[in-house]
C-alpha cells in the first residue's frame, strides 16, 4: 500500500496538474482521496475530494481551476481587466456577468441589513488606510445610493469604488462547491478562500476563536481575524475597517461565522468583526441559519445564533 501510494504521488506530481498551479496528493482511505492546493483571489485554496475515482477528480478539478480563473476575471482588484476593476475605473459596466450582479446585489443587501458595518464601497477608505493615511469615514457609505444595479448595467456614484474582498471569496467557494456537485462530488471540503462542507458527513474543523475543533456538516464557515493583515502595528490599524468611521476597532481577536452559504458567512464575518459583541448578538439573532463563535479581545469565547450549526457546541479535538 505505501508503495502504490508513493507511486501515485509521483504520478500526480509528474502530471503537474493544471499547469502547475495545484498539486494532487494521495492519502489513506479515511483521509481525502485528493487534496488540491491553489489560489483564489490571492488567498490559499484547498479542496479535498473523497472518492475512489481519480480520473473523475482530475477532470472536475481541471474545471475548478478554470472556474476560479473565470471568477478572478470578475472580482479581482489586482487584474486591470477584471469586471470589478473596469467598473471602478469607468464608474459603470455594461453587460456585467451574473456573478457580479448577484454579488453586488447581495453586498448592498448586507450593507442595509448590517447598518453599514459591511459595505462594498469601502474600497477608497481601504486604499487610504493601506497607504497609511489617517482614518476618514467612507463618503460613499453616507451617500444614499452609491451603486445602481440592474442586470444589464452597474453604475457607481462619482468618486466611489467597490471591493468585494469581504464577500467574493465566499462566492467563489460556493461556485466551486456547485461545480463539484455537478460532477457528483458532494461529500467534500472546499476551501477557496472560505470553508464549505456541503456533505452530510460531519468533519472536525478547527475554530481559532474557540481554540478547539467543532464537528460540523452542510455548512459554510468564514473567519475574520485582525491579525491576518495588520496595516500599522502602532496605530492598531488592520484590514478590518469600520466603514462608518474609517477606524479598525479592537473588538475581536477572531470571529467565525457559520451559514448555509460561504457568501453569507463571508459577508457576515466581515461585518461582525468590527461590531461589539452585543451588536453581533442582536444581528445574529435577526438572521436565520447563522451562528457565530468569536474570541473577544480579552480572549473570552462568545457564541451566538443557531447552536445546531456549530455542531451543538461539542468540541472535538
Amino acid at each position: 500500500m505505501p508503495q502504490s501510494r508513493r507511486r501515485f504521488i509521483m504520478t500526480a506530481m509528474a502530471a503537474g496538474f493544471a499547469g502547475g498551479i495545484g498539486l494532487l496528493i494521495g492519502t489513506r482511505e479515511q483521509q481525502p482521496a485528493f487534496v488540491w492546493r491553489g489560489a483564489a483571489l490571492g488567498g490559499e485554496a484547498r479542496i479535498s475530494l473523497y472518492g475512489p475515482d481519480h480520473d473523475a477528480a482530475r477532470a472536475a478539478l481541471a474545471e475548478v481551476v478554470a472556474e476560479i480563473e473565470r471568477l478572478e476575471q470578475v472580482f479581482s482588484l489586482h487584474r486591470a481587466t477584471s469586471e470589478l476593476s473596469r467598473l471602478n475605473r469607468d464608474g459603470a459596466l455594461d453587460a456585467p456577468s451574473r456573478d457580479l450582479v448577484e454579488v453586488a446585489t447581495a453586498a448592498i443587501g448586507w450593507r442595509e441589513r448590517t447598518g453599514g458595518s459591511f459595505d462594498p464601497t469601502i474600497q477608497p477608505v481601504w486604499l487610504a488606510a493601506a497607504a497609511g493615511k489617517p482614518a476618514t469615514a467612507d463618503i460613499c457609505a453616507r451617500a444614499g445610493t452609491p451603486v445602481a444595479i440592474t442586470p444589464s448595467r452597474i453604475a457607481l456614484a462619482p468618486g466611489c469604488a467597490l471591493t468585494f474582498n469581504g464577500i467574493a471569496q465566499g462566492r467563489i467557494t460556493d461556485r466551486v462547491t456547485e461545480l463539484l456537485a455537478r460532477h457528483g462530488f458532494i461529500d467534500i471540503v472546499v476551501d477557496a478562500g472560505e470553508l464549505r462542507l456541503p456533505g452530510r458527513t460531519r468533519r472536525a474543523v478547527g475554530i481559532p476563536a474557540a481554540k478547539a475543533a467543532v464537528s460540523v456538516a452542510e455548512v459554510a464557515i468564514a473567519t475574520s481575524e485582525p491579525k491576518s493583515l495588520v496595516l500599522d502595528p502602532r496605530g492598531f490599524r488592520h484590514h478590518l475597517i469600520d466603514p462608518r468611521t474609517g477606524d479598525s476597532p479592537r473588538h475581536w481577536q477572531s470571529i467565525s461565522v457559520f451559514a448555509p452559504t460561504a457568501e453569507t458567512a463571508d459577508a457576515l464575518s466581515t461585518a461582525f468583526a468590527i461590531l461589539p459583541h452585543d451588536a453581533v448578538a442582536d444581528l445574529a439573532a435577526s438572521i436565520t441559519d447563522v451562528a457565530v463563535i468569536g474570541a473577544d479581545w480579552k480572549g473570552r469565547v462568545r457564541r451566538y445564533g443557531d447552536a445546531s450549526m456549530t455542531g451543538r457546541g461539542e468540541a472535538v479535538s
Binding site: E69, A95, S97, R98, G109, P151, S152, R153, E178
Partner: protein, 711 residues
C-alpha cells in the same frame, strides 16, 4: 645517446616562443569571444529594431496574375492588422486576400535576408497564385534561372489549404517539385508560402483552426429521442418544489404544481445532422447564412415555468437570465445575436414554450467543440426585502461524431526536422566519414608509421569524399556559406536556416571543432570533394609520369595572397550586393564540378577544367592560390589549440625533403609547417617516420653499426 632522446620530437628551434604561444592563443580566443559577443549583441539589436522592410505592394496587374480568372477591375485595399493583408475585391464580390510572406511569416532565406513572396488566398482556402518579389538567396542566383524560381513559386497555385498537411520535402503530387541543387531555398520558399497561406486562411476564417472541427457537410435526419440520447441535445431542469425551497418566503408565490420551474434543452446547431434535423431545411439554411465564419449557433428551448429570455433584453439588449460559460470565459448573450424560432421541425420533440437561437461570435473566444455550460438564473424578492437568486446549469459537450477529420496540426513541424528525417542513410554515412577523419587524427602516430596504409587509406578516402560526399550527398562547402553566416550574425541568426541542410550542417559543425583542434586541413585535406578531385587527378598524373612544376618558395608565398584577397573581396562585396558577391564567388569551381557535375554552360566548365589541368602540374593548384573558402578557414586556423604535427630538429637545416614533397608547398625553407596552408594530408609525418625516406632516419640507421662495433 639513447634512442629515446633521438626520437623525441621537437618543435622548430626558431619558435623559441613556445612559452608565449599559449598566451597568444588565449588573447586571440578572448578577442574572438569579444568579437562574437559584439556581433551577437549587434544582431540582437538589429533584430529588436527589425527594419520593417515594407513588402512590395501588389499592383492591379500582379493581383490579376495572383487571381487568374477573376474579372477586372480589381480593387486592392491594404488592411493593417495581424496579419496585415491586401483585400482584393472584384466587381463580382470579394476575390480573396493577398499576403506577404515577409509580413506574415518573416520568411528569411539562407543568408538571413528577407524572402518576400506575395500569396493570393481565396475564400475557398486555396492558394490562387504566388509570386516571388524579393530574395537574396545565394544558391538561387547560381545556375538556376529566375524562370525556374517563378515556375516553382507559381506551382503552388491551386493548392488546397484544407488538404492534409504535406510533409516538407516529402514527395507529393500536390506540390511543385523541388528545384535540383537548391533544396535549401526551395524548402524555405515552400515553408514560407504554406505557413503564410495557412495563417491567413485561419485568421480570415477560410479554414477552421486545428483541434476538433465541426463537420458542416454530413447530414442525416435524426429524431428528437436520438439527439437527446447521444448528447446532441442537453438538458437543464429544476422542479417547482426545489425552486420554492431555495427561494424561501417570496412575495409572489410560485404555482403549486404543473410544470417544472426551469426546464431547458440546448444544442449546438452547426452540424447539419443536429441543426437541420431540429429546425428543418429552410430555417437552418437561414441561420447558417447569417452566421459568420468561426461563429457558432446555439439553440435554447424551454418548457418550464421560468422563461429563459425574460423581457429585460428588449431594453438592455442583453439577456440577463442567460450566461454561457466556457472554461474561464463568461459570455453574455445579446439581442443582436438572437433569433426567435416558433416551432421545431421534429414531431417527437416536447411542446416548447419558447425557442431561441443565439449566434456566438468567434470574437468571444468561444469554441463549439469544447465543453461549455449554459446557466439560466431566476431572481425573486423575499418577504424580508432581500433578493433570492437561483440558477440551473446545463453542460454541453458536442459529441465527437460531429467532428470533421482534423485539417492540419496548427503549428507545423519546423522544416529542418523533416530535412533530417528524410535522409537517414546519407546523414549516417557522412557522420561515419567525419568520425573516420577525427579517429585518424587521434591515432595519428599509428596511422603515419604505416606508409602503405596511409597512402591507400588516403586515396580510398578521397575517392569516397569525391564520389559519395561530393557528387551523391552534395556535401561541398562554399565560401558563400561563410559570408551567409557572417551576414546572419548581423541580421539575426537562426539555427533553422543552417540546420535545413543536414550534410552541410554536419560538415560545418565538425569543421568548427576541427579548426580549433587541428586547423582547416581536416576539411581541405580530407572532406573537400573538389580538393579530393584535384589530388586524385594529380596522383594519376604523377603515376603517368607527368613532370611536376616546382614553384620557388618566394613566389609561392606571394601567390598565397591571391586567395585572401579574393575572400576579402567577396566578403566586402557581399555587404554592397549579395548578388554580385555571388557572381564573384563563381571563382569557386565547386558548383560546376561538384554540385552540378560539370553539367553547365561551357565557360564554367572550361574554367573548372583549366583549374584541374593546372592541378596536374602543380598539385592542388586551386587550393594553394585561389580558394577563397580555404582563405576564410585559414584565418581562424590561427586559433588552433593543439600542434600535433611533429618535426625533427634537423628539419629544414640538414634536410629539406619534406618541403619538396608537401602537397601544397606549406613547408617553408626553414622546415616550418605553415598551419594556414597545411591541408593535414600527413605526408610529412609519414616521411618523417619512414626509414626509407627520412634522411635523418637513414643517417641514423647508417650510423648504427658504428655505435655497435662488436657487430
Amino acid at each position: 645517446m639513447g634512442a629515446g632522446e633521438a626520437r623525441t620530437t621537437a618543435r622548430h628551434p626558431a619558435l623559441g616562443l613556445v612559452e608565449i604561444l599559449p598566451i597568444v592563443h588565449r588573447l586571440l580566443l578572448i578577442a574572438a569571444a569579444a568579437l562574437m559577443t559584439t556581433a551577437f549583441s549587434a544582431s540582437a539589436a538589429t533584430r529588436g529594431a527589425q527594419p520593417a522592410a515594407p513588402p512590395v505592394a501588389p499592383d492591379p496587374a500582379l493581383a490579376a496574375r495572383l487571381f487568374p480568372g477573376v474579372t477586372a477591375p480589381l480593387s486592392i485595399v491594404r488592411r493593417e492588422g495581424t496579419p496585415p493583408l491586401w483585400q482584393v475585391d472584384a466587381p463580382g464580390g470579394p476575390s480573396g486576400v493577398i499576403a506577404s510572406t515577409w509580413d506574415v511569416a518573416q520568411s528569411a532565406g539562407y543568408s538571413g535576408q528577407p524572402i518576400d513572396i506575395l500569396v493570393g488566398i481565396t475564400p475557398g482556402a486555396r492558394i490562387s497564385g504566388a509570386e516571388l518579389r524579393r530574395h537574396n538567396e545565394p544558391i538561387l542566383t547560381l545556375g538556376i534561372s529566375t524562370a525556374d524560381i517563378a515556375r516553382y513559386v507559381g506551382g503552388f497555385s491551386g493548392f488546397d489549404l484544407t488538404a492534409p498537411r504535406v510533409e516538407a520535402f516529402a514527395d507529393s503530387s500536390h506540390l511543385p517539385p523541388i528545384i535540383a541543387g537548391a533544396t535549401v531555398s526551395t524548402g524555405v520558399i515552400r515553408d514560407a508560402i504554406l505557413r503564410t497561406a495557412r495563417t491567413v486562411a485561419v485568421s480570415e476564417g477560410y479554414i477552421r483552426p486545428a483541434g476538433g472541427v465541426i463537420d458542416r457537410v454530413t447530414f442525416s435526419q435524426r429524431a428528437w429521442s436520438d439527439l437527446v440520447a447521444d448528447g446532441s441535445v442537453a438538458h437543464a431542469a429544476m422542479s417547482l418544489d426545489e425552486a420554492r425551497r431555495r427561494f424561501g418566503e417570496i412575495d409572489d408565490p410560485l404555482p403549486e404544481a404543473g410544470m417544472p420551474f426551469i426546464e431547458a434543452w440546448i444544442a449546438v446547431l452547426d452540424p447539419p445532422s443536429i441543426g437541420r434535423s431540429l429546425l428543418g431545411h429552410a430555417a437552418f439554411s437561414n441561420i447558417v447564412a447569417s452566421v459568420g465564419p468561426g461563429d457558432t449557433s446555439i439553440l435554447i428551448a424551454g418548457t418550464g415555468f421560468h422563461s429563459h429570455r425574460g423581457t429585460a433584453y428588449l431594453d438592455s439588449g442583453v439577456f440577463d437570465r442567460l450566461e454561457l460559460i466556457q472554461s474561464e470565459r463568461t459570455i453574455k448573450l445579446r439581442k443582436a445575436d438572437y433569433l426567435r424560432i416558433d416551432k421545431l421541425a421534429l414531431d417527437d420533440a416536447p411542446r416548447f414554450k419558447e425557442i431561441s437561437v443565439f449566434r456566438i461570435p468567434s470574437s468571444t473566444g468561444f469554441v463549439a467543440t469544447a465543453p461549455f455550460r449554459i446557466e439560466i438564473s431566476a431572481e425573486r424578492t423575499r418577504k424580508d426585502g432581500t433578493i433570492a437568486t437561483l440558477r440551473s446549469a446545463a453542460t454541453y459537450a458536442l459529441p465527437k461524431s460531429y467532428f470533421a477529420a482534423a485539417v492540419s496540426d496548427g503549428e507545423p513541424q519546423p522544416i529542418w526536422v523533416a530535412a533530417w528525417q528524410r535522409k537517414p542513410f546519407t546523414i549516417a554515412a557522412v557522420a561515419t566519414m567525419i568520425a573516420w577523419v577525427a579517429g585518424a587524427f587521434f591515432v595519428q602516430e599509428f596511422f603515419v608509421s604505416r606508409p602503405a596504409l596511409w597512402l591507400n587509406g588516403r586515396l580510398a578516402f578521397l575517392a569516397v569524399t569525391l564520389v559519395f560526399l561530393g557528387w551523391i550527398a552534395k556535401g561541398q562547402l562554399s565560401v558563400i556559406q561563410v559570408v551567409a553566416f557572417l551576414h546572419a550574425l548581423l541580421n539575426g541568426f537562426h539555427w533553422e536556416t543552417f540546420l535545413i541542410e543536414p550534410v552541410i550542417f554536419m560538415l560545418w559543425a565538425f569543421l568548427a571543432l576541427g579548426l580549433l583542434f587541428w586547423g582547416r586541413g581536416v576539411y581541405c585535406g580530407w572532406l573537400c570533394p573538389f580538393g579530393a578531385l584535384q589530388e586524385l587527378l594529380n596522383e594519376a598524373a604523377k603515376r603517368l609520369g607527368v613532370r611536376q612544376v616546382e614553384v620557388p618558395f618566394a613566389l609561392q608565398e606571394r601567390l598565397w595572397a591571391i586567395k585572401y584577397a579574393l575572400f576579402v573581396a567577396i566578403l566586402g562585396l557581399s555587404f554592397y550586393s549579395m548578388d554580385r558577391a555571388i557572381v564573384l564567388a563563381e571563382a569557386e569551381p565547386f558548383k560546376t564540378a561538384i554540385s552540378m557535375s560539370f553539367l553547365r554552360e561551357w565557360p564554367f566548365v572550361a574554367f573548372a577544367l583549366a583549374l584541374l589541368i593546372a592541378g596536374l602540374f602543380i598539385e592542388r593548384f586551386y587550393c594553394r592560390y585561389l580558394c577563397p573558402l580555404g582563405a576564410a578557414l585559414a584565418i581562424p586556423a590561427k586559433l588552433k589549440l593543439f600542434d600535433w604535427l611533429h618535426r625533427r630538429p634537423q628539419c629544414g637545416r640538414e634536410c629539406r625533403f619534406c618541403e619538396t614533397q608537401c602537397t601544397v608547398g606549406a613547408i617553408d625553407t626553414l622546415g616550418r609547417i605553415n598551419p594556414n596552408e597545411c591541408i593535414l594530408c600527413l605526408r610529412c609525418q609519414v616521411i618523417m617516420n619512414d626509414e626509407a625516406q627520412c634522411v635523418v632516419l637513414k643517417r641514423r640507421a647508417g650510423r648504427r653499426p658504428e655505435l655497435n662495433p662488436s657487430i
